[in-house]
């Protein structure tokens, strides 16, 4: 597959309301795939726009917002209090379609939470891009502005972390 065409979708570049109407549903769906809660997803997206509006500029496009949502969701998962609430809900949430799996495992919020304690944000961003957003390595490299080699190394490190986690689970 060719690299992503990162041409911004046509919205009024200086109007965050226009961007919210155009991209809001896509961002809510993305946050919901990570957090498994539409309510939390709406909160994350609304907070992001509230923060961005004062410093809105024409560079804000869907790929940028996608990355920002990833980081906001990871922050929510890292926060102990929010994490507890999200994990409690996960059991009742419908799992999204999983087309890309990590060592035969669907990457859910529980695995993200476990890995959040072991991996830095750079690795977690790659993790979400590959196993939640289903991006190819080339697409991730372009999306994050990194080399494909770096993406490959980070994916290896992520797999090692999951294997180590499984080992700990078996041992306990």
């Amino acid at each position: 597959m060719e690299a992503a065409n990162d041409k911004p979708v046509a919205v009024a570049a200086d109007d965050p309301q226009s961007a919210y109407r155009a991209f809001g549903p896509a961002l809510i769906r993305k946050a919901q795939r990570i957090l498994r809660s539409r309510e939390d997803a709406v909160d994350i997206v609304q907070t992001l726009f509230a923060d961005l509006i004062p410093r809105w500029n024409s560079d804000v496009d869907l790929p940028y917002l996608y990355r920002a949502i990833t980081n906001r969701c990871l922050n929510a998962i890292r926060d102990r209090q929010t994490r507890t609430r999200i994990l409690e809900r996960e059991g009742t949430a419908v799992a999204p379609v999983a087309r890309v799996r990590l060592l035969d495992e669907v990457v859910g919020v529980r695995l993200l939470a476990a890995l959040a304690d072991q991996l830095d944000e750079g690795h977690l961003e790659v993790l979400v891009a590959r196993f939640v957003d289903d991006m190819t390595q080339d697409e991730i490299a372009e999306h994050l502005g990194l080399s494909r080699k770096t993406i490959g190394k980070r994916l290896d490190r992520i797999r090692d972390a999951v294997i180590a986690l499984r080992g700990e689970e078996v041992a306990s």
Binding site: N5, P25, K30, L62, L74, D79, E121, D134, M135
Partner: protein, 207 residues
Amino acid sequence: MSCIAEPVSWLRLERHALGEREAATVAHLAACQTCRACADAIAADTFELPALRPAVVIPLRKKRPLWQIAAPAFALAAAAVVALVVVSRPPPREADRFAVKGGELVLGLVRERAGMIADDATTFRPTDRWKVVVTCPPGEAVAPSVSVVEVGGSAPADHPLVDATVACGNRVVLPGAFTLTGLRANQVCVTIGEARACRTVAAELAP
């Protein structure tokens, strides 16, 4: 049911749904039932987008009668004197016990990020520098106390700026600057006498 090759990412599917027609995506969706189902799920996911919440505005403190300000200020001053005796701390300057007349104290935070200045920004990164500006009734010398505490955290409040006496006025810049770190939101407060104003700044990761 699995994808016939490399799945079309959700970002591409969303852009496809927004009307961008990338040849590779169109061809893949024509051939792959799994990815087409994902595209169909996006198209079917129609819901009423909630209206954007208005940005949080820190309201100005309402003016109160002088006696309402003076009574707590005297109580605070008395408590301060007792505390001084008990813990043997150096006595505060007279200005430390000053209550802002008129009851109006406005806190402003100025963020400097890679040379870019933003007034009253609501998010921080560890590399940002912050300065505090206060607006209070002009003409009085005061000693503002700035405290920073993690929202929901157990750590005690930090006082990142050295004590300094400044003349009240419109958007007076306090000496010194500080940074905010961690993953939690931070509440920055300025206290002048019994008047207090706070702002909350949320943690942010790049971008």
